[in-house]
Amino acid sequence: MLTPKNLLILSAVLFSTGTYGVLARRNLLIMLLSIELMFNAVMLVIATMARMFADSGGHIFMLMIIAISAAEVAVGLSILIALFRMKRTTNPMDLTALRG
């Protein structure tokens, strides 16, 4: 049961769930959360591969992903706060400033 194959399938399911959250929701906070879920699915793939090939270099990449997603969340939430101040909304459909 605990095989690399099953773990990869699990992370594919989690990644798709995160994709659904990004596409179907109209709340920027939940879209950001869904991106975190996708990050985690990728981390699971890397952990599986690191274990499979017994190469602990994969753990370094997981560390990098954690650090980068922390930076991404900090910047993303700041953008969200700035947008909320300007527009009083968290609905991405109301944000049309860059639409040509």
Binding site: M1, L2, P4, T17, Y20, L29, G57
Partner: protein, 417 residues
């Protein structure tokens, strides 16, 4: 007795039976623990993630995602990534999700916009017509015309696209089991302290003959430095115990390999030992032979077997991080710095010109103090806090209003009684 209570007791009994089953099974089969953790964590992880992305209230979404991250940490632990499992809890659950909660609660970003979420279901956002409307006007409804439906179909297609190659194209052993045969050829090693620093390295090499899939036989014999090959219960040589002190030069390495010419396993062990000699300043846990054998037997058929190589431990991750991956590590620190500056710049509130003095309360809580307070500050009655830049300006003359008589001070309702 109501139905909820019966249901709760039933669920509790089932959970208790499951736990008891796992415990009893685990006592006889170490690998079963990993299987049980995997099953529980993957099932709960998928369920919680689906719940998380469908909640209207972001707070519930975050709490469900917290559960997903804890399940992920359990899976990392099963995959022998201990350090990352702990970091997952510390950084993801402890820092990132709390950041989300702070933003929600400080900025009152409450729930989703109901109209916006409804428009996703109905497909009316951006002025598109719903299926019903399109049908009425005779334009013909496209069955994928609501964004929610499209997102669902897209994500399911993505899942199928990702899963199908794994299921149908990938076969064979490395993909279908974590067995000790796929352990690294890196050795497990431990050191012995004798007062003059770390003296002895014990190096274990997993022996694997790729041609026959059988552990390769190793000739017996040895010198004062090298054991005759450690054997497991089946009599297979699984490693050497090599005593070495200090750094090993390339010449010394070659000379040592020369003592067992043609023994590829031994040559690998010595090469690993040369790499490990750099570790002598580090404190390595000294395990007795008995402990090593016990842990090896216990986790023989378990993913945890890889533990004996120090895989996923803090020393191993730290060594990799500051040795082979030092430059990526430095770049990540730059990214974090840029992220920090970006967050500060983006979230900074734009102040109006002249704004920026200290915040001064204009309406104290105690009702008797209102006049005194206002007289002292020369402020007008208002709600909350106002910015008073002039209070920063020490050169500006302070305006003192004449004090009203005591009756006026304490007569706050203004009816002169």
């Amino acid at each position: 007795m109501n139905k909820n209570l019966i249901g709760a007791i039933g669920a509790g009994l089932i959970a208790l039976a499951a736990v008891a089953f796992v415990v009893v099974k685990a006592l006889s089969d170490a690998a079963f623990v990993d299987e049980a953790i995997f099953l529980a964590a993957s099932t709960l992880g998928i369920a919680l993630s689906v719940v998380a992305v469908t909640r209207k209230n972001p707070v519930y979404a975050i709490l469900n995602l917290l559960g997903v991250f804890v399940m992920m940490a359990a899976l990392f632990f099963v995959l022998a990534a201990d350090m990352l499992a702990v970091l997952q809890i510390l950084v993801y659950a402890g820092a990132i999700l709390m950041l989300f909660l702070f933003v929600i609660m400080l900025f009152n970003l409450g729930g989703s916009d109901p109209a916006a979420e409804a428009s996703v279901v109905a497909g009316t956002e951006l002025g598109r017509k719903t299926a019903d409307e399109a049908e009425k006007t005779g334009e013909g409804g496209f069955w994928l015309n609501t964004p929610k439906l499209r997102a669902m179909v897209f994500s399911m297609a993505l899942a199928a696209l990702l899963i199908m190659p794994i299921v149908f194209l990938v076969h064979g052993d490395p993909w279908e089991s974590f067995t000790p045969r796929h352990l690294p050829t890196r050795p497990m090693f431990s050191g012995v302290e004798d007062g003059n620093g770390l003296r002895e390295f014990r190096v274990w090499i997993v022996v694997e003959d790729t041609a026959t899939d059988a552990p390769a036989p190793v000739a017996a014999g040895g010198s004062t430095l090298i054991s005759s090959g450690e054997k497991d219960a089946e009599g297979t040589t699984v490693g050497y115990r090599i005593t070495w002190s200090g750094p090993m030069s390339d010449e010394q390495r070659d000379a040592l390999i020369e003592t067992r010419k043609g023994d590829a396993v031994f040559a690998t062990a010595v090469k690993q030992l040369q790499g490990m000699a750099r570790w002598q300043q580090l404190e390595l846990g000294g395990m007795t032979d008995r402990e090593i054998t016990a842990s090896r037997d216990r986790y023989k058929h378990s993913p945890m077997a890889v533990k004996r190589d120090g895989f996923g431990s803090i020393p191993r991750v730290g060594w990799d991080l500051f040795d082979a991956y030092l430059i990526p590590f430095e770049f990540v620190s730059l990214i974090l710095l840029a992220g920090m500056v970006g967050a500060v710049v983006l979230a900074l509130r734009k102040r109006a010109p002249g704004e920026g003095g200290p915040l001064v309360p204009t309406k104290p809580v105690g009702d008797g103090d209102v006049s005194l307070f206002e007289r002292h500050l020369g402020a007008t009655v208002g709600q909350g806090l106002v910015h008073r830049p002039e209070l920063h300006d020490v050169s500006a003359p302070v305006e003192h209003k004449p004090a009203p008589d005591d009756d006026a001070i304490y007569d706050t309702d203004g009816d002169d009684d």
